[in-house]
Each structure stands twice: as C-alpha cells, then as structure tokens.
Symmetry: D4
Subunit: 222 residues, 8 copies
C-alpha cells in the first residue's frame, strides 16, 4: 500500500488545493509525492521546503520545480506570473511589517498566485515609523482583503485593522528574540487585538493566510 493519499478533490470541495508540507518529510517521501502528482498531470504546491531539502531532491525533480528560497516554496507545473508592479488592487493585498517578514509574506503571495490571484506585497511599514504606513493608506483601503505579516510585538495588526473596512488576516511571523522568540508575542498580540475582527493564522503560516484570503474572495463571487 502506498504511504500517502493525495486529496485531489480538495480544491473542488473547499476552494483550495492540497499542498505538501515538506518540512517533516524525507526527500524520498517528497519525491514519491511529486512522482504521483506528475503521473496524474497535476500541478502541485510545496511549502516549507528548505534549501537543504531542495538540494537533496533528485536533479530531475529540481529541474521541474519553480523553487523560491526566501519563501521556501516550490511549484510543480509552471511558475505563476509575478503581479504587475503597481496594479490597481482588486483582490488581496499583503503588508509586511519589516524586511524579515518577507519570507512568510512571499509564501502567501506565491500561494495566491498558484491559485490565480495576483497580490502585491508592501514591505517595511512597521509602526515605529507610522508615516510609512500612512503613505500607503490609499492602497490599503482599496484592497478587498488584507494579509498583514508581522513579528516581534505585532502592533501592525491592530493599527491596520483600525483603518480599513476590509477583512484583515493576521499572519504572525517568527521574527524576534527573547520573549518574541518563535513568534509567540506577535501571535498573542493578533489574538488579543483591540481592533475587532482580526482573524489569525498560526505563526509563519503564509500558505494558510492565502487559503483564507482565497475563500474570502470567493464570497464576493458567489
């Protein structure tokens, strides 16, 4: 019996395709899953694939994957296009508090792109210098759904959610040290935000944030 059973109908059932969480898997397990997907002619998204793991994959698979080291994602079946530089935003917008939050933000952007949604990323708008956020306020208010990626104390979640009417998805990141180590401070800040309705994902779960955004955008299309 095979050791895995891909849930091919998940996209039809829930709107989001199954992705492969690579971190806890061996290279052999990942390669076997790729083999099955390719045999079925399916596109496939791989998440939390470290550069070291990627290096251990057979060369034939590496050649067929669109790998992005910063977000640790790989796509089988053709890379999605980057969003145009300054589009009018009709869908999701991703906001990252600092440069270090870009890994998680890009995981979200790549997942959205994989599902056909171009989503720009606005970076380095942390609350220690509010003017940077104010300069982007127009774009923030145009978005239909926002993903906000922030680590450390996660104050950005509350500030953004107090400024816009669109749904806000908080994506806490593991950026920080001491009590912020591993993202706990940002996660708890998101959960206890004084701005009502902030919706929270697990630490560094850019894939999940994108999946939530895709489902929310689907509400607008029903």
């Amino acid at each position: 019996m095979s050791d895995f059973t891909l849930d091919w109908e998940r996209e039809a059932r829930t709107g989001v395709a199954e992705a492969v969480l690579c971190e806890p898997k061996t290279p052999a397990q990942i390669a076997a899953i790729l083999e099955t997907a390719a045999t079925n002619g399916a596109r496939l998204l791989l998440t939390r694939l470290s550069p070291a793991q990627h290096d251990e994959l057979p060369e034939t698979w590496r050649a067929r994957l669109d790998f992005d080291a910063l977000s640790r994602t790989a796509i089988l079946g053709g890379a999605p296009p980057d969003p145009p530089p300054d589009p009018p935003i009709e869908g999701a917008l991703i906001v990252a508090a600092g440069t270090a939050d870009l890994g998680a933000a890009r995981e979200a952007a790549r997942t959205l792109a994989f599902h056909g949604h171009a989503a720009p990323v606005i970076a380095d708008v942390g609350v220690a210098g509010l003017w940077r956020l104010n300069a982007q306020l127009g774009r923030l208010r145009d978005a239909r759904v926002l993903i906000v990626a922030a680590g450390m104390e996660g104050a950005l979640f509350s500030v953004v959610a107090g400024l816009v009417a669109a749904p806000v998805i908080a994506l806490p990141t593991s950026v920080g040290y001491g009590v912020a180590s591993g993202g706990a401070a940002a996660l708890n800040a998101a959960l206890s935000s004084c701005a009502p309705g902030v919706m929270v994902m697990n630490v560094d779960n850019g894939f999940g944030a994108a999946a939530a955004a895709i489902k929310i955008l689907g509400v607008g299309r029903r």
Copy 2:
C-alpha cells in the same frame, strides 16, 4: 477631562461599531459610558457583562438594556430580532460543538443581529458522533461564512473546514478542564489545523468572530 472617548466613527471606517468590553470595568464606568451613548442617541453593544455586573447597574439603565445572561451581552437601543427558525441561509451560520459552547456562539449571534445580520445557531454537533454533523451538511454548505465554536480538543474546526468552500472562522471556547483549561487546547488546535485557511479568534471572542464575519460578508457586497 472625561475618562473615555467613544470611537463613534468606527463603524463608518471599519464596518463594525465600537462595543464596550465590560468585564474589566466598574459599574460606575459602564453607567457613564451608557449615559454618553444615550445622550448621543446611539445604539450600543455591551459584551462580557456578567449577571453580577448587570445587577449592580442602576435600575434605570437595566430597564433600558436588552440583557442576555447566557451570552453576557446587553444592547442599548432595542433588541435585535431572533433569526426565523429555519431560514434559507444567505449569510453567516454559527455551529457550536456542544451545549456548553452556546455562550460564545450566542455572543456572536447577538453581535451579528446588532449589525443587521440574522444568523442561525446549530448546536451539539461534536465530532465524537459525526452523524450529527453529517445530518446538517446541506445547511453548512449553503452558508456564505461559518463561525465554528468549540472547546476541549477543537477537532470540529478541522472537520468542518474540510467539508465546505466558505470561509471558516474558528471560535475556540474555554470549555474544558485539565490541559484544555481556559481554552488553550482548542485555540492551538484551530491554529494548527490540517485544513487550510481556518481563521482563528481569541478564546471566547464571539464578538470578534461576528465582526470578522460582517467584514467578510461585506466583501460580497462591494
């Protein structure tokens, strides 16, 4: 100088009106806020108002409030109508794992009603008896957004999110004891769900879950 400054324009700015979190406030502080709201002719939602706190409010205010002990909510300015018994669901649906989760579920339902959204509550569909959930599957798939309230191990979040395409808001509750005490086990289960895109609120934050649902329903109307 007054000790509080209500954010009257929050609803215009963010789609959800400011509510008053009563738990950490004294009766005198709550009464003063009610006074200000009434003077402004504003409706007002009060959350986490315990029966004991309610009893300590001046009788004149108690007479003007629509108080619901189970959800610990009170509404100044007229009670919202209950949802009709078995409507076709065009908006939010609230699912509660067990009877004990109804307090949080009703806080969400009352908040939705305060903002003009009727939302039915389906109770006692915990995963230990999956047939109860299966019997409701049609109604679950009709909803545009779901709020799932569950305590203890919170398995219901993942099971529901694997069955529907609509956005799922997880509302962990403090129901449970031992390691589940205070809702931590359910909260962490929601955050680490294997079903992609589950969006999570703080423990017992029915108000926040409703605020999120209102914002999501707004996406469909833009």
Copy 3:
C-alpha cells in the same frame, strides 16, 4: 522581635520612599505597619489594598487614610493634590489605552503625586482609533517622560514610542481575556516592541512605573 523593618532611608538613598504592598498581608500586619509609621511621624503609601482589605482595617486607621478604590492605593499623612485640569506638562504624562486601564494608571498618578509630581492622565486613546491619539500628539510631545498603560495586545506602547523623543515607560495591564489573560500578551508586546528603548514594568505595576519616572525626572535636575 518585630516582624517588619521599614527601610526609612530608602528615599534618601534611591529617591523613592518605601511603599507597603498590601495584597499578601493580613489586616493585622497592615495595621501594625501603619502604627509604626504614625509613631515615626512618617507619611506612607499603601498599594494593592483591595476595598475588602480596606474594610477590614480598624476604623481609626480608615479615618486617617486617603483611600482610592479604583487604584487600590491609600495614603497616610494627607492626600496629595489632583493635577490641575490642563496644565502645561513639565514632568510626567500618563497615557491609558482604555477606561479599564485607569486602575493601573491611577496607581502611577497617585504615586507620582505622593512624591510631589503632578501628572495628568489621558485615557481612551487605543490604536483601533488612531485619530484619538493624534489629537493628543502635542501634549505627548511636551512631556519629559511618558507612562503608557495598556492591556490586551499592547500596541499602544510601540505607536507612542515611535512618535516622541522622551523616555517611554510601558505599563502593561491585566486587561484582557483568553491569551491576553493576566496581561501576558501586553507585557510581551512591550518587551518585544519594534520601537527602540521602550522600558517595561511588571503587569499592573503602576507604583513601579511612577518610581521609574521619578528617578528619570531626577536626572534632569542633577
């Protein structure tokens, strides 16, 4: 041998007088300490004295104490004056995110007053409605040292510290529930603030925040 030894020279040595933390003491212990202070003709500040504890003190002591229930402080030896309503701020300014943070904020204000420093309190300027904070920006920038009291996610610490040059003392409060319960989320947000130099006190430690402010104001006078 007596069971306590007041550190009468602490004010001379460190700039801040010894105060009596009443929460873990019995009424008999508190009364004995008051007796000693009165015998020495000393003024004395009592903190974390609950109304229930206050009620259990002998009437003779209750009559001699200036007790404030909201801040749970009492002063032996004459109440300090309230700050004038809108003074030019030459010293400390206290900012409270919400009405529920006023208990801790007032403990700080009363401690400052006990040591001869009038400090106004600005309340209800949480980040979910940034306009309320912006309206106070001039006063914030005039202060020589700021104490910021906030519970829940504590985003206010970072936002204020990004706007002013004066030292900012974060006073996390126990306002909140779920993951914010007991003040942990606000405390960790303060410690991991992206705004450099935020100085942090223990949860609800308004006395300590005031002591720190007094020492900082002393730097300006040397």
Copy 4:
C-alpha cells in the same frame, strides 16, 4: 561496577521487554549495552537511534543490527517479518494522519513486530479529507486495538475514537510548527478529546504506544 543493569526479567514481569533509549546515550554506552545483550544471547530493541548515532557505532555492531532510519529503531537478533499486505486484522492496527507521522507509526509497528505482533499501518487519512478515513472504516472496526498517530491539531484521535468500540491509543507526533511545534497541540488535543476513553502517550512515543497495545492484547488472552 558496570554503568548499567539491564532489567532482563521485565518481559516476564510486565509483558514488554526492556528497550534501550539511545538518544541521550553516547556510542560507547550503546556499544557496551549491545555487548552485554549479545553475551547473554538476548534479542534487544533500540529506539530513537539517529542515523548519525548509528553511523558512529562500530562496524561490527552495525552489521548485526537491523536498522530502520525512518523509525530510528534497530533490532539486535534478527529482523521481525513485515506484516503481509492486506491481512484480516486480528490484533493491532496503526493509523497515521499523514506521511510525516510515519516515523512514529513505524516505531510502534516495529516494536509490535519485535514482540511477535504483526500490525499494518494505514497512512494519510487526515480529517481535512474525511472520505479517506471513511474508505477504511471496515478495517478500523475489525481491529482489536488501534494506535492513531497524528501531529498538528490531532483531530484524528477524536474522530476515530467516535467510530470504533476498540480501545484507541493516541500517539501524538511532533509534526507541526508554530503553536504545534514539538507536538504540544496534538498532545493536548488527545488529552482533552470529546470522545471518551482515548488513552494518550507522550509525543513521538511509538514504542510506548506499542507496549500499551501489547498489554491490551494480553487481556484478551488471559
């Protein structure tokens, strides 16, 4: 005096032989224990032996061990047979939520095999796609005892336990990140399951789960 004292009579006394937990031991310590076992003509099970530790063992011992890298187990004295591909299940059945849980699941399977119990492993039946579990329901109901291995939110424990009458042993795994890191979320979900009677092992303790299953199967034979 020797530094270890194997408990040779443990199997007679408790039904399960002593195994050697290798993780915290040096290669020299492991080799000395193997020497003693071999001298006594005893079979021996080694657990949590990492590939790196295995590589550091003397070649003579590596040659005599049946080592399995995925489960990090090694057996001295002859490898146990694999279970036949699709046997009628008369004993234990092991269910793994995802591919990444197979390490712990195989530790359990190899421990069972060492003690003479063939136990098939069913993989990739996580609750995000319930149809995969439903497809195996017959096999689940045939088993006399089930071991369920799951990480992340651990919803599978409750769902399986609600479907079968046989004892269910929950084996939480360390698969997951953020709040699920190290297996805490799955462990707490197992302990607070709404399905009564779920019995829980420490995170990744496949050996213990198998030991429990062996003891339970022994009840049927008394």
Copy 5:
C-alpha cells in the same frame, strides 16, 4: 431547534454511553437534558456536577438523581451497587495514591459501576511509604486492568507499571500546589514514565479512565 442532540447510539457504536459534562453548563441546560433523557426512558451519567450546581437543580430532579458529592457524579435511573468489600478481582482495579485522590478515583469507580463493572478502590498507597503498596501487590497482579490515580509528582504510575503485566491507565489528579498546581506535574510524569506502556488521561478525568478500562475489558470478551 433544541440546543442539544444526545448521541443515543454512542454506547452501541463505541461501548461507552454518552455522559453529560455539567461543569460548563447552566442548571437550566442540565435540567433540559435530564428531561430529554427521562422522556426517552434512558439512564444517564452526569459528571463534574458540583454540589452548588446540584443544589440549583429543581427539587424534582434532585430527588431522581443518585448524587455523590465527593466524585461530583450523579446518575439518573438508579444507583449502581457498590462493589463487595473484598472480591476476587476479575476486572478493573483502581489505585489511589492518597486520600485526596479519591474524588477522581470514585468518578472512575462510579462510571465503571454505571456500565456494570464493579471495581474496588485501594487508597493511600503513595510511594513515600512503599510498604503500603507492597502489601497490596497480590491484588494488583490479579487485576485485568488498573487505573492509578495520583497527583503531586505522580511517581506511583511508574512504580505500579513496573510491577504488573496488566494495562495501566494513569489518572493524574489536580492534587498539589506550586509547580504541581492543577495536576501538570503528575500529568507530565505519567506521560514521560520510564515504565513502558503507561496510558494517560487528562487531569481528573476519572470518567475517561473508566471508559478506557471498559473498552480494554471488552477486548477480552470478543
């Protein structure tokens, strides 16, 4: 629609009847559930029903319930018989480390009795005086399954499990203070026992321990 849906077929499906966890429920909710059960002619087990909650139930229900304050359990439909004083043990045996662990132990005993299994309780055999345990060794070895209830450091779990071949179910209790507060130390001791195969329940979950024992005894009867 009713607010609860009892899972009447749970006993047929899983071997253990649904019980009502009363702690998080209001008296009105409990009374409504009793009403439904009585209307269906069903026996019903109530757990974690505090004396204060019991006192708030309508007198008519109190009269029909067999309530046991120490274990906080009540039974609708006739009290089960106590086990005879010194029976030969053919089924489950319950061991309690100290007098204070008897509440959880009796919850297990009453649950077993409700399902038709008489199970004696041996109390006060903590490891600080091992002779007390040794004096009971014969009875321990006769049992087909053991439930061991212990708080504080929970050393008893490992000591008992090292002495018997029958399955051992660890029932950590909330007895203790400081680091043992709430049962965490005993729980973690059970999970990390050096005696292989100890199966662990949530803190104070006597009902669950009994449910597990019932399922294990069922293995012997198939």
Copy 6:
C-alpha cells in the same frame, strides 16, 4: 476498607513524621484521620489547613488542635514551645524577605518545633535595603542550616548563600503578582542561583523546607 493508611513508621525510617496535607481534603476526611491518630495516641501535624476548613471541623477537634491561622498549620497533641526571643542559634535559622513571607516561614518554624527544634525567624531583610541583612550577618553565620523564604524576584537566596558556609534551603513563596504570580519567578531564581549549592523547595512548601533542615541537622549528630 478504610480510605487512608497513615505511615506511622515514617519518622523512624526517614527522620520526619508523616503530616497531613489538608488543602485537598474534605472536613470529613480530615476528621477521620484525626480520629485514627487520636486512637493511636499519636501526635499529628496538619498543614495547609485554611481557616475556613478549620471552622468546618467539629468543635471537639477544634478544641484539641493548636491552630495557627497565619501558617495554616494545626497540631494535635500539644503545641510546641516558641523559641526563646534571642537565643544563641545552634540549629536552624529562618530568614524571611518580607512580612508577607511569614506564612511560609512560620509553617517551617512550626514544623521544626513539632520535631523538637527551636528555630528563630528573622523577617524583613529584603535586598532592596541590604543594610537590614548586614545587621543580622552575625546571626546568619552562626546557624548550622538556613531556610530563606522569599517571593517576588527571590534575590535574597543568592545574596545569603554568598555570605555563609552553612547549607541554604531556598523556600520560594507565592508573594508577588504579574510574572511573579504564584511564586514562579522566585522559584526559578532559586533554581538558577549564581551562588553554588542553593537547595530548593516547591513554592510555599515550608513543611518540606523544615523536613530538609531536620535531616541535615541529623547529619551532624550521627
């Protein structure tokens, strides 16, 4: 069978008599234990007996107990004498950081007295005013063993242990709030002291600290 089995020979075996931890026991359980002890003509020490529990004991037992509310201890069989006011210290000395630590300190003193050891208590020598400790240095250096009771940050453990050659037993207390709540900060400070050899007890475990001191004093007498 009786529900408890006192370990009468514990004192002979280990040097310290069994005491009864009353907190988790019902008044009926406590009374039954007293009955047994009285029948055996034994003296008995009760710990963590709250005034409320004491009030619920039958009057006949209350009359026979020497109850001390501050330390929550009671002694059956005659109160031990207080230590003389300023003896030369030949045995144990107890040091309490503040007045609020006297409850735990007195539990230790009463336990020592019960076993025949008079031990003076020095109070209010916290490190914020080191001169108070320096004034007692001679007495500290005379003691054969020291028990140091402190809550909050527990700095006193390290300071005392750096000054004396006698064994130092750290007794962390639950005095404090915020991060010090429940004694965790003091406990961890004791465990990670930079002064070598500090031996640590559980929070508020004055009984245990005394038991340790008794055993240490026994070393000097062998």
Copy 7:
C-alpha cells in the same frame, strides 16, 4: 518597489537612529540595506549580526564595516572611540554580572558610543561575592543612568537598584541553563524586583537598553 524603507528621520523624531536587526535577514537583504545607507551617506548600526552572517557578506562591505564579534554589532561609517580607561562618569554606566554577560553589555556600549556617549563597562560583580560590587559602589553612585546586564537568577538588578538613586535599566541575558534557559528567569526577576522602579528590556536587548539610556540622558539636557 524596494523591499525596505529606512526610517531616516527616526533619530530626529525619537532621539535614537534606526538600526538594522540582522539575525532574521539574508545576506542579500543586509547588503541591499547597506547599499542604500551608503548611497545616502548615512552612518548605520547593525545588531545581532552573527560571525557566520558577517562572513557571508561581500568582501567590499566587510571592509567598510567595524565588526565586533562578541557583541555581534557592526558599524558602517567609522568605529566609535572606546571610552577612556577610568573616566569620571558623567553619563551611562554598564554593569555586567559575569564574563558571559559581556556580549549584551558590549552591544549596549557600542550603541551608546555610536550615538556619541562613552560608557564604561564594569564586569564580574555578581551577588555571590558581594564584596566585588561594594568595591565599585562609588562609581555606581556617580553614574546618571545605569544598565545592569545579568543572566541566571538576575539578583544583581535588585541589589544595584537598592543602592543608587539613578534610573536602573535591567538587561536580562540568556546566560543560564535549565529553568534559566533563554533568559526567562533573569527577565522575570527583573520584572518582579522588590527594588522599586527597575525598568526592564527584552532578553539580550543591549541595543534597546542603550536607546533607553540615551533618551533618559536627553531628559537632563532639555
């Protein structure tokens, strides 16, 4: 659009220049930020730059940076001068409990120097040997503001704060193991200090401690 937006006016606005937290950034991100700073002719402070990260920077940047491995800081635009060996202290003084705390202490000293403040470091004055601290008491009392770096149990914070009138900034370090691992014990000791007014930074946040000291010294100059 660029991935980062330096907050060039932060120093004018808040008194402390923006620094670059390097730990969570890739070498490419760090190099791009350096490029931007150099293009603007700006000096720049880099913190938490590990030797391994430093080695991965392009040689051209390494040549232009003043890198200090012990404090993991680098300065673009010229190294600040070391403080003269024994200056009269007119500003900040840094005290380190042990040699292992020097990394954090030097991060603070280098940050102060970058902003034009020479600050000597006194090392190895832990409380286990109080005479070492007493020998430095004069220098401690001369400082206008003190930074105290300590790990393990952090007793030094309270002892120093009880001796001086100047503001004391506690800088807990991650030095320690077991319960002190990661600095938690020292952090909590600082937060719950019995010496009033201790101001606390996140673990190992020497940069933040210096930023706070700079702001405090600014109070004296207004």
Copy 8:
C-alpha cells in the same frame, strides 16, 4: 580593566570554591581565566565545557587540564583520584536512574572529588525495575547524604527519599523527550515529591548538587 574578577575567597567564606561555567564563554575568555588562575597558583574547576569548546582551547591549556568528556568538566591543577571500587560510604553517595543520567552524576562526582570527597556512583536503578534499587538498599542507607540523578518522570527521587533518613538532593536531568524535554518533568516531580524534604537543584546542575552535599557534610564536622 580586566573583564573578570575571580572570587578567590569564596571557598573560605562558603565552603565551596568558585567554578567557571564555560558554556556561555568564548575560548578566549576561558583561556584568560585559566591564565589568571595559573598565575595565582590556584586549582580551578571548569564545568559545562563541551568537547567542541575544549578542542578550541590552546594546546598548552588542553595539556594542563584533566578533561572528562562525559561530564563536560575539566580540572586545572591535577585530577582528583577516583573513589575506590566498593568503599564503605562515609560521605556522599550518588545514584543515577539510568545510563543517560551519568553525565550529570559524574559532574557531581568530579566536583566532590575536587573538594576532597570520594563519592561512588550507583547507576541504572530506575523504578521500572524496583528490584535493582532494593539490591542497593544497604548502601543507600549507609550514606550520610545522597544525590539522586534522574530524568524523564523523576519517580526515583520520591522512592529513594521514602527509604532513607539521610538528606536527599534531587538532581533532575535533561534526559527525555516530548513533555520531558529539557528536564522539566523531572524537575517538577522533584519539587512536588510526596516524600518530605527532597531538596532540588536546577536541571543538570551536578556541580550545584555537589556543592550542596559538601555544605551538608560540613554540618557534621562543626
């Protein structure tokens, strides 16, 4: 100014010489301390010196150190003699639950030897096979003070302390995984032991356990 100040008189003042905790120090710092000690003709004990750190020390120092990899200790100034194989025990005895606890146990033994106390180590007497402990009971009862090293659930602390009259020092070790990871379960078991008077050290603090034992043995000699 030098970066360290050895506390040469600590042994005279407290009975235990200062040791150098190497883990958080750089090789350069360690070498400088060795240099100072050698210049003073002092013997010196180094603890938590990893093999990797040892390898990085200059060859001249490595040649002068007696290094023991298992305990990670090194001694400058001549290795202490091993205890004779089976001496009558007149002092300390060290008991280790399993082979994996020998690292901590040997740190204690080497520290005792450095101070002139020979202390045998008895290994592999965990409670899962009590007969191994019973076989050593005579030797246990002869010792004047016992150090018990155990990880995992730490049941051995309570069992040994219930059997002997001598003081028992619990030395929890970091052996274990899952909830026992890092030694927390064993530490908490020691602190909440049902056997009165168990004295507890930080996890893996073999040096501290030995220091405590040395002080206790000193009581017998005064």
